[in-house]
């Protein structure tokens, strides 16, 4: 690494703000900046932000060693249905698969609900006569003339993107490769993706959908990334990486070919940030809860590792592409309270969003949001937030909450507390579902709460979930940009290859992995990753014969030497999740290889531990309404003045620019040497 290049720059683009974190890799100095996102062209705010952070900190552009970008360009294109004119070519008899999907209606009872719009209209979905069977034999040959005819037609009607998906291509991609070659030659302007490259796994609908999305957003994302890369290169920053959905970064080249891999990257960077924090402080099992204005993202860290899933959705469209397993629900600070026809208090999923926002923003919002309830109770500053940039009209909060209270015949403060309790119960319900799905009990985990509103809810949620410890990272509102600085270059290789273990020689399993390994080596070479930084991990998706859910088992080459070891590894994992296991024959479905090019982690400088006394950080006190309809005095702290080793005894409120943390009575928060706060219940 060049000595003078020591600034790592991370920029995360969100719906409201573009967040920037820069770190000096040597000294560990952290620089942050926030500016409004430029939603028409994300690169405007990105480039402004780079300029701002570089110039205000007096850094030469040439000192930037790498620029890591979390982009929502693909995500937004899907959400807003802005895509290129996209066509599909598939096996005869199956062009409607994209529309039929799993033939389920989205809601059992709601007669007004619609299916998600189809990304590729029917008149642009074409069939060719070809067929490959389940073992990969060609049943019916694909004809070159047919492809040529189609290619000419696609040119004539001005298509600019194409998805090619044939049945059983995951066993034998020969026809997809041929179609890509033939059409690519005749249609050089068209962005083409084939399913065996985008998502090489069985289950045709999900594979088709992922490939369709990839092509649908392909032209736009490609244009954006290429434009951004050249603009950034022009100012003298040469290494540009893009954050992907599975908690790693990739080259612009990779991201341009597979933009769908960025589609779920938004919440991933924050989770990576928490993972970095938990590793630093030695927490190995954690539930990460990212609460923003409109939604809450939940994920797990188990035995020090993040969990990936191949079964995710983006805006209601399934994408079977390895991604961090993050569950999103519509619950956040802006969630609106309402009373239903049976007289029950409900909160959300409707949100006041940023515009008009909660009533207290004074932008015309009349509904009581969770934020308003917190203003009423005194949890939030009744004058201003975001270090004065957001004035608060507390009277509006009182009015809005009172309207709800009157409907319920409940006293004002009781109503406000009720709104928070109900809002929390929605989050608790989802956390329980997420953990039980993975076979865990939330009580065995710590919590990491971040996002603008996470630290407000942490103390309450840990009580509801019976969790011992909640960690509030140093920069809860900027954790995603921070996370980008810590990511490795990563690519996931997947191959479906169905094998019955009892009928297979162990050597052939090994050989399939060897093929994947040589693909990974090619990729390492292509990305110019030095051999000392190459790390490969192997996993198998396995199931009992006849089942249809696979679980992922790590294939550790040092400990798995034969079929029996493999069977034991599977049964152990299965039992962990489901409490029991069977004697049944076992199948391998997918071979997975994760290739990682490691990057030096930024050097995080520890603060000096000082005493427990936190009184230096006290900036006042506030009356907060409590359960017994009385008020309790909460001490008010300035987070920036807290020193490592300080203990904040609850009840307390800790304010900082990007968030507010609550510590309840009976709890205390200890500041660690990295300036995180760990809230624990007093014994």
């Amino acid at each position: 690494m060049d000595d003078d290049k020591n600034i790592r720059l991370g920029i995360d683009v969100g719906g409201t703000n573009t967040d920037i974190c820069a770190i000096n890799e040597k000294t560990g100095k952290l620089m942050t900046y926030k500016l409004p996102s430029s939603n028409n062209d994300q690169s405007v705010a990105v480039l402004d932000g780079i300029r701002e952070i570089v110039e205000s900190n007096d850094l030469p552009y040439s000192s930037v060693s790498r620029f890591i970008h979390g982009t929502t360009a693909a995500t937004n294109a899907i959400l807003e249905m802005r895509g290129g004119k996209t066509a599909l070519i598939t096996t005869e008899g199956f062009r409607d698969l994209l529309e039929i999907g799993r033939q389920k209606r989205p809601d059992l009872y709601d007669l007004q609900i619609d299916k998600k719009p189809v990304l590729i209209p029917r008149y642009l979905r074409f069939e060719v006569s070809e067929r490959i069977d389940y073992v990969g034999n060609v049943v019916s040959e694909l004809k070159e003339e047919e492809l040529e005819r189609l290619a000419n037609y696609l040119n004539n009607i001005g298509v600019n993107a194409l998805a090619i998906v044939f049945l059983n291509s995951f066993v034998n991609p020969i026809h997809e490769n041929m179609a890509k070659r033939v059409i690519g030659k005749l249609c050089p302007e068209i962005f083409i993706s084939i399913s065996s490259e985008v998502s090489n796994q069985f289950r045709e609908y999900e594979r088709m959908c992922g490939t369709a999305i990839n092509s649908f957003v392909g032209t736009e994302v490609q244009r954006y990334l290429e434009h951004l890369e050249s603009a950034v290169n022009d100012v003298g920053i040469s290494k540009v990486y893009i954050n992907h959905s599975n908690g790693g970064i990739m080259s612009v080249h990779e991201a341009s070919n597979f933009p769908v891999k960025t589609a779920l990257s938004g919440p991933a960077a924050g989770v990576i940030g928490t993972h970095f924090v938990t590793e630093l402080i030695g927490v190995s099992n954690a539930i990460t809860i990212d609460i923003g204005g409109t939604s809450t993202d939940i994920s797990l860290i188990v035995d020090g590792e993040l969990i990936s899933s191949k079964d995710r959705e983006i805006s209601g469209y399934p994408v079977r592409i390895p991604s961090l397993d993050i569950t999103t629900i519509g619950a956040g600070g802006g969630s609106i309270a309402w009373v239903d026809s049976g007289g029950a208090l409900k909160v959300g999923p409707q949100s006041a969003g940023a515009e008009p926002g909660p009533a207290c923003y004074g932008k015309g919002g009349r509904n009581a949001a969770i934020t308003d309830a917190r203003v009423v109770l005194g949890h939030l500053n009744q004058k201003e937030l975001l270090a004065g940039r957001l004035p608060i009209d507390a009277d509006k909060s009182f009015e809005a909450v009172k309207i709800i209270g009157d409907k319920l015949n409940m006293e004002l403060y009781e109503t406000a507390r009720g709104i928070i309790t109900v809002g929390n119960s929605n989050i608790v319900r989802e956390v329980k579902k997420v953990t039980v799905e993975k076979g865990y009990n939330p009580e065995d985990f710590d919590m990491v709460a971040f996002g603008g509103a996470g630290p407000l809810h942490a103390a309450e949620l840990m009580r509801e979930l019976n969790i011992r410890k909640a960690i509030i990272p140093r920069t809860p509102g900027l954790l995603a940009a921070y996370g980008l600085l810590t990511e490795d270059v990563r690519k996931d290789f997947v191959r479906t290859n169905v094998i019955n273990i009892d009928k297979t020689d162990f050597k052939s399993i090994y050989e399939i992995f060897n093929e994947l390994k040589s693909q990974a080596e090619d990729w390492f070479d292509f990305e110019k990753i030095p051999s000392s930084r190459r790390v490969v991990r192997l996993f198998l998706d396995m199931r009992y014969l006849g089942q249809n859910y696979e679980i992922e088992v790590e294939y550790d080459e040092d400990s798995i030497k034969n079929n029996e070891d493999l069977i034991n590894a599977f049964n152990t994992k299965y039992k962990k999740i489901y409490l029991y296991c069977y004697d049944d024959p076992i199948q391998i479905i997918n071979f997975n290889l994760t290739a990682v090019g490691t990057i030096n982690k930024p050097n995080i400088v520890k603060g000096k531990i000082s005493g427990e006394d936190a009184s230096k950080a006290v900036i006042g006190e506030r009356k907060v309404s409590t359960d017994n309809n009385g008020f309790e005095k909460y001490k008010l702290y300035d987070r920036d003045k807290l020193e490592p080793g300080n203990v904040v005894v609850g009840p307390a409120i800790i304010e900082q620019m990007d968030s507010t943390t609550i510590i309840l009575s009976g709890q205390s928060g200890k500041v660690d040497e990295y300036y995180n706060i760990a809230i624990e219940n007093d014994i």
Binding site: R105, L108, K115, R122, Y205, N426, R429, Y544
Partner: protein
């Protein structure tokens, strides 16, 4: 005891629903057969000690019938003093309680807290084993009255062995039953934790208030409907045993906050497997009311008990022994159709036009020579959903009483000696209207050489009676079942049973579309042209919209 505030009510209701949801997740994940894991043909419920439903996590509305009648049956057959901690009841029988057709096995577990019976956790899984059909319930498989499968945590092995002997795919049954058992154990633990947190008195108080809340919501919604009597009648094509044009009739009577459904005038019970027992009828009425008047009403007994249902015994909607019930869900689809039809007379904007009105399915069984084992592949196929007053109907979905997903083609071909030749929309099957009805589906299967002794059971409805439109909207297209050998159709009926198939035979099932809404001449030109460009409406049918090419 804690005061039951609107907050505690909502939070506790949420907690119970959360338990039911987690149980549903558990059953899906631990389930063994494709039908439970992949198609999620399962449901979960939590009931009070008196048999009142508190929370339901359901994927298939018809399942409620079994959950409900099983708990009712347990309480009828056993005195509370004979129900012990660690007991598990199993049942599937429509006539002695505990089911609406025999493949659905329901497991009921009583939950005790401080030695008091506080709840029942219940789950149901559809065990897709060899399907049998015949003129009576006795021909349809093993009938299991409500019996204890476990007593005081001890497996009653004789019962277990007796049950298992009756199934062909033993490993699947063992695996699925074990998953059902684990799911209830999990639910039991969670309900006990809830009681721990609330205290018994508050828990009991909650149960009472929660049911009242359901009742309040239902009554509020019912009282918004205009008083009056609204009738509707529709017909099923056939029962596959010679009975045709089978009437289903309802009169909906609304007065104040009371609603009554009277099914007098519906056909007598039939020889084909299309009979609904009372609990299946109730499940259909509850589904329809929730969809029609307020889909946010919590599915609990407080809501159910505010609805009255009358149906003469011995009819297809309230059958008595020994009427066969295997395919009762198809009838329940028609029952939903007539309820929707009756509501269209209150206000057509509240309803949707008739959909594919069937649980169209095929079931292939035979011997799989690839692995030298017997196999059964069952698939239900969606179709059109009815047009709405303000928008088109959904294409290619399951309607009303079912919402099971398909088996992916690649999973199917890997597992069974069959090949899928087509899975596509049926063009022109949506009824014309200002808003078009949804399109049906064509799923076509070829029998491969590795399948020996292949037999087919298949059925669809609305082959004769088209799905109706509303307010001048036209009917959707009818369904078809075609069995093709050497290029020629070899079946006559739309319902076949134990049909022998050979290598190379092709089975093509085209489900019905759905009715349109409003006068087709009022449909905007751009929408007609878009449908035409999309090939959803072909040249021939443009005339329905007053266009010619």
């Amino acid at each position: 005891m804690k005061k039951m505030t609107p907050v505690l009510l909502e939070v506790t209701g949420n907690a119970l629903l959360s338990i039911a949801e987690q149980m549903g997740v558990m059953l899906t994940k631990t389930g063994y057969s494709t039908n439970i894991k992949e198609r999620k043909d399962l449901s979960v419920g939590i009931f009070t000690s008196k048999g009142k439903l508190l929370a339901l996590a359901q994927h298939i509305p018809i399942h409620f019938s079994s959950l409900f009648s099983a708990v009712e049956g347990v309480l009828k057959k056993w005195d509370i003093s004979e129900i012990y901690e660690g007991d598990v009841f199993i049942a599937n029988d429509p006539y002695s309680g505990g089911g609406s057709h025999l493949p659905d096995l329901v497991l009921v577990k009583p939950v005790f807290y401080e030695d008091e019976l506080v709840a029942f956790v219940v789950n149901i899984g559809h065990h897709a084993d060899r399907s049998r059909r015949g003129p009576t319930i006795f021909d349809e498989g093993l009938r299991i009255p409500i019996v204890k499968l476990y007593e005081k945590s001890q497996l009653v092995k004789d019962i277990y062995d007796l049950i298992l002997l009756n199934y062909q795919l033993k490993e699947e049954r063992v695996g699925d039953l074990r998953a059902q058992q684990i799911t209830n154990q999990f639910g039991e633990k969670k309900v006990i934790e809830l009681c721990d947190k609330l205290g018994l008195e508050t828990y009991n108080n909650f149960c009472e208030e929660w049911l009242k809340y359901g009742e309040r919501k239902a009554k509020t919604a019912i009282s918004m409907l205009p008083d009056g009597e609204y009738e509707f009648e529709d017909y099923m094509d056939s029962d596959g045993c010679g009975n045709v044009d089978i009437p289903i009739k309802v009169k909906v009577i609304i007065k104040g906050d009371k609603i009554c459904f009277d099914f007098t005038g519906s056909s007598r019970q039939v020889e084909g497997p299309y009979n609904c027992v009372k609990c299946a009828l109730l499940a259909t009425v509850y589904y329809s009311v929730k969809a029609l008047i307020d889909h946010t009403i919590p599915a609990n007994s407080g809501y159910f008990d505010s609805i009255e249902v009358n149906a003469p015994e011995g009819t297809i909607v309230n059958a008595v022994e020994p009427a066969p019930t295997f395919d009762r869900e198809t009838t329940s689809q028609r029952i939903a159709d007539v309820i929707f039809g009756a509501f269209s007379k209150i206000d057509p904007k509240k309803v949707i036009a008739a959909g594919n009105g069937s649980v169209s399915f095929f079931s292939f069984s035979g011997f799989n020579r690839r692995i030298n084992k017997p196999y059964v592949y069952v698939e239900t196929i969606g179709g059109g959903s009815g047009a709405r007053y303000n928008k088109d109907g959904l294409d290619a979905v399951q309607v009303h009483m079912t919402n099971s997903s398909n088996l992916p083609v690649e999973a199917l071909e890997m597992e069974y000696p069959l090949r899928v030749e087509k899975y596509e929309l049926c063009e022109d099957s949506g009824g014309a209207g200002k808003y078009r009805g949804g399109l049906g589906i064509n799923r076509t299967i070829r029998i491969l050489g590795d399948s020996q002794d292949t037999t087919l059971i298949a059925a669809t409805e609305r082959i004769k009676r088209k799905p109706w439109g509303l307010c001048e909207g036209m009917s959707g297209a009818t369904a078809e079942l075609n069995i093709i050998r050497n290029g020629e159709k070899i079946n006559e009926e739309g319902k076949v049973r134990n049909f022998k198939l050979e290598e190379g035979d092709i089975v093509e099932l085209k489900t019905a579309g759905a009715g349109g809404y409003g006068n087709p001449l009022e449909r905007g030109r751009e929408h007609v042209m878009n449908d035409f460009r999309e090939g959803k409406v072909t040249k021939e049918h443009l005339k329905d919209y007053g266009f010619e090419i």
